[in-house]
């Protein structure tokens, strides 16, 4: 099996690649006449500016003093220059670092558990012919239709009984059920040529070893895509953490920020500083992994929404 491996590895189904190679071709093709291109460029530039303005305006405000942020004839650049006072205040007094940590821990746990249990189930549904398999697939696919939001009432009741209200586990566990991800992984495993595993089985390798040392390494692209999608979803989830956590020390960034809107009232510079700080981690991650994130969202997002 070891000899057969290297040649077949290159045949791994790497689905999203096609989109990347197609891009270079497409940029060459639809070259219209020059005036049309200039018009398109101007329209795009105007729209992109419009899209960036709310973010830039928030960033500008966050670097003003409270007095200047609330000054009546609105100024773009404040007379007294910019200041980081709002950030200092927010970071020294507020709970933003604590919330960021909570968000990170819970999102990382959700991602790890979701990917593990979904990959195990996806592999079984793809490769093992067991009684009840077809029924399970139907059940899992049908469950995608159930909107998680309608479950908040019974789920909260369940969490009360499990003593998980106001705990990390209370935030994490209900988020690890991702039927679409099981389905996506199953479909990916389906595309991996079975001969690879057949050979390993003949050599007496256990199913679990095959999964770990053949199937999972071949599935890195899809595992990455699923992880990114799940992590972003958990990081930004508002409704469930908002329902299950009341203790401000256990809040995630989105829910913690919500309490501040009402508490701070008219501290505009500090409000904006908190929002910018909350937005920063994912934006930085996005800058570094733009291609992978876009690819991941495009491939998993369709079934994931």
């Amino acid at each position: 099996m070891s000899a057969a491996n290297p040649t077949t590895v290159t045949l791994t189904p790497v689905v999203p690649r096609a989109a990347v190679t197609a891009r270079t071709a497409s940029s060459k093709r639809r070259r219209g006449p020059a005036p049309a291109r200039i018009a398109a460029f101007v329209i795009l530039a105007v729209l992109a500016t419009a899209w960036l303005v709310p973010v830039l305006w928030a960033v500008l405000t966050s670097f003003k003093t409270e007095a200047e942020a609330a000054a009546m004839p609105v100024t773009i650049v404040p007379d007294g220059g910019f200041t980081v006072a709002a950030y200092v205040k927010v970071l020294s007094e507020g709970l933003v670092p604590r919330w960021a940590w909570n968000s990170f821990i819970t999102s990382a746990a959700v991602t790890l558990i979701t990917v593990t249990i979904s990959a195990l189930a996806g592999y079984a549904l793809s490769r093992l012919r067991f009684a009840g398999r077809t029924m399970l697939i139907t059940l899992i696919v049908a469950s995608i239709m159930i909107p998680g939001q309608i479950l908040i009432v019974p789920l909260f009741h369940l969490m009360l009984n499990l003593n998980m209200v106001d705990t990390y586990w209370g935030i994490i566990l209900p988020q690890v059920v991702a039927a679409p991800m099981v389905f996506i992984l199953k479909k990916f495993f389906d595309q991996i040529p079975f001969e690879l595993e057949e050979a390993a089985l003949m050599d007496g390798a256990s199913r679990f070893r095959i999964l770990r040392s053949i199937v999972l390494p071949l599935s890195k692209p899809i595992l990455g895509a699923v992880s990114i999608f799940v992590f972003i979803g958990a990081w930004n989830n508002f409704l469930w953490p908002f329902i299950v956590v009341n203790d401000s020390n256990l809040m995630t960034l989105p829910t913690g920020l919500q309490t501040v809107i009402s508490a701070y009232g008219i501290q505009y510079a500090q409000n904006m500083a908190q929002a910018v700080l909350a937005a920063l981690p994912l934006i930085i991650v996005f800058m570094f992994f733009q291609r992978q994130i876009i690819k991941g969202i495009a491939t998993t997002g369709i079934a994931g929404t």
Partner: protein, 316 residues
């Protein structure tokens, strides 16, 4: 060369056939157990946090359960008849439908427009993608903070901008005439990146030959757009349309954070009403009944999509 290949691959062919089939049947029996074992962790979570609440919620809708868990006696269809006669339920359902209509149209059309423009291949590709897609990565609370500030009646950038042209802007989020529009604008800004990406991927999958053939026939840019690009995007449009409708029907975050459903309930979607009934009114049983009415709406949209999608695949 051939001998080297032969040496490299022996183990597969060497085993006798009967040996193989015995191994297979034993493996099949083991697979029965193993299949359920591998699915077990997922099924445990799936059963506990999805299937059980789905049925438990349905049961709760027939009881008078309160948040404290008391008063769990069976009340039959009381919650359901009350919900169907509750004007608040109806107005929140109408608001949800109205929000869905107002947000879905631009979120499909503008996304397609942006993707077509970006796909022309103008310089600055990464910048366009970043601008239109980045908001999608922001948490709802961040988005709401940014836009609450944009909509601020006196200090907000929008009314300042209108002021330069001598227009006195409304108090966007506090005015019943503009609150819904304001929330829709924010939603379009926030979530368009996803649909934009789906359209971009679809555009890149249109075969070049189609455009080349059209050029040979003397078709202009507009003609090519109408008779190649648009029809080729049709399947994506159906998909985007349905995903967007489902997402819009589930609106909660930004409305809760920006208007709280106000002014006077004019922006309150059904999920917000469920939240209010269940978690501030402590009536879990009644909230469950409304949840299920909403669930049926979602199911109808999903089934409608599956019918359309299956018809499409039959045609193809």
């Amino acid at each position: 060369m051939t001998t080297a290949d032969g040496l490299a691959a022996p183990p597969r062919g060497v085993r006798p056939a009967d040996h193989l089939s015995v191994g297979r049947s034993r493996r099949r029996r083991a697979d029965n157990l193993r299949g359920w074992l591998y699915c077990a962790p997922f099924l445990l979570a799936f059963g506990l946090f999805l299937i059980w609440p789905t049925f438990y919620g349905l049961w709760m809708s027939f009881t008078g359960t309160s948040l404290a868990g008391t008063n769990t006696q069976f009340v039959g269809l009381d919650n359901w008849t009350e919900a169907l006669g509750d004007p608040q339920v109806w107005s929140s359902l109408v608001n949800t439908a109205w929000f869905t209509l107002l947000s879905t149209i631009p979120l499909v059309l503008v996304a397609m427009f942006l993707a077509v423009l970006v796909n022309i291949g103008l310089p600055g590709q990464w910048f366009w993608r970043l601008s239109f897609f980045m908001p999608f990565l922001l948490a709802s609370t961040v988005v709401s903070q940014f836009w609450n500030w944009m909509y601020n009646p006196q200090l907000g950038l929008i009314n300042t901008f209108l002021g330069w042209f001598g227009i006195t802007g409304p108090a966007w989020l506090q005015d019943p005439n503009t609150a819904m529009i304001a929330v829709v604008i924010t939603t379009v800004w926030w979530t368009i990146g996803f649909n934009f990406l789906l359209y971009l991927a679809a555009l890149q999958n249109i075969p070049d030959q189609l455009y080349e053939a059209a050029s040979l026939d003397g078709a202009g840019g507009w003609r090519k757009f109408l008779s190649i690009t648009l029809p080729q995007l049709a399947p994506t449009t159906v998909l985007v349309l349905v995903l967007q409708m489902l997402a819009s029907l589930k609106v909660f975050d930004q409305i809760y954070q920006m208007t709280g459903g106000g002014p006077g309930g004019t922006t309150r979607p059904v999920l917000l009403y469920i939240y209010e009934v269940g978690f501030t009114g402590y009536r879990l049983g009644y909230a469950s009944a409304i949840s299920y009415i909403f669930f049926f709406m979602i199911i109808i949209v999903s089934i409608a999509y599956m019918v359309i999608a299956s018809r499409r695949s039959v045609k193809a």
